[in-house]
């Protein structure tokens, strides 16, 4: 497989949220605004990139029987780093994301890549794979955040889009929890209709 395909596979064709439907909890919970969705995506990308890197470096030394606890320890180390980093440098974002920052540790997307890819492939490939999957996750969260913020708050990154009158009475339900379920349902239906030929 070419290097470029390793990178783009996680970005588009096997997009974690929109195609494989994993990592749904943070995707739905933190896509209320563009900033939150993008910030969550980057935090998960950081963890995924470095856990893939370390696990790929150590792949010949990790005993097969205890590999899952070791993967979890590596992942939780990087989650703790990004947790404290965001607390110090992005306190507003950290408050908005809340419990979902430490919960990156149980995101099955990250453990899944460690088990399925990083523990079997070279370091460079593992970095590319981590970046691709992570940025695909970021892309999905940013798309959802854009739609929900524009409809539910009338703004994009805090800038009014449809003028002041819409901003005063937007479709509030889009930023609340029902809007999150609705938007991913509609996105998935559009993907089924226009992108994927085989329908379940």
């Amino acid at each position: 497989m070419s290097k470029w395909r390793i990178f783009t596979r996680g970005l588009v064709r096997d997009n974690a949220v929109l195609v494989l439907m994993i990592g749904l909890c943070p995707a739905l919970a933190t896509s209320g605004t563009v900033r939150d969705g993008f910030g969550m995506g980057l935090a998960a990308t950081f963890v995924l990139l470095f856990s893939n890197l370390i696990i790929s470096l150590l792949r010949k030394n990790i005993p097969n029987e205890v590999r899952i606890p070791i993967f979890i320890l590596v992942i939780s180390t990087f989650v703790t780093i990004i947790d404290y980093f965001m607390q110090a440098f992005q306190p507003d974002l950290y408050r908005a994301l809340g419990v979902f920052v430490p919960l990156i540790v149980v995101n099955c997307m990250i453990l899944g890549r460690a088990e399925a890819f990083a523990s079997k492939n070279s370091v460079f490939d593992a970095i590319l794979d981590g970046l691709g999957v992570g940025l695909g996750f970021t892309l999905a969260l940013t798309i959802m955040g854009t739609v929900r913020e524009i409809l539910g708050n009338g703004t994009f990154l805090g800038i009014p889009v449809f003028g002041e009158s819409f901003k005063k009475s937007p479709v509030i339900f889009m930023v609340l929890s029902p809007g999150a379920f609705l938007i991913i349902g509609i996105l998935k239906a559009l993907i089924n209709k226009y992108v994927r030929k085989e329908i379940r």
Partner: protein, 194 residues
Amino acid sequence: MKSPALIFLGAFLVNNIILMRFLGLCPFFGVSTAVKIATGMGMAVIFVMTLASWITWAIYHAILLPFDLVFLRTATFILTIASLVQLVEMFLKKSYRVLYNALGIYLPLITTNCAILGITFLNIDNKFSLLNGTVFALGTGFGFTLVIITFAAIRERLDLAPINPSLKGYPISFIAASLMALAFLGFSGLFGLT
């Protein structure tokens, strides 16, 4: 200080773990295909969630706080929960065969369930006492069970409904969940809870 009854109601209905907090979505969509399966999963979650809230509370207050090791919280809790689930599974298999037959196959799935870990973090963040933490975990577990059973019943009907093929499967389930969440929004403000 809120009373335990209000904490229970808040976790059960107002801030429902699935529909309002978005935790535990994987089992919510993964094992809600039939009411019987959903019931088993719900019972397993109530059981493990309560146990996990006790154990992590004890570890946090007896080890992490006194020795100033709070930064190890994430790593400690996830490893504790993973080994706790293994231990419970072995114990049930040996001693309570009936319970094991009912819950056994759902227990391994719970390790990667973010609802359990999320509740232990929320317990710490809210500075709950042991009693309030237990009540909070129980309320959350029952809220999870209520929603997953109701949703499984809806999905059993949806399977038979004549709908557009591109909406079949996940998309229509998400839209059904969206309508359920809309209904649960009606509980906000109940007894002054937000």
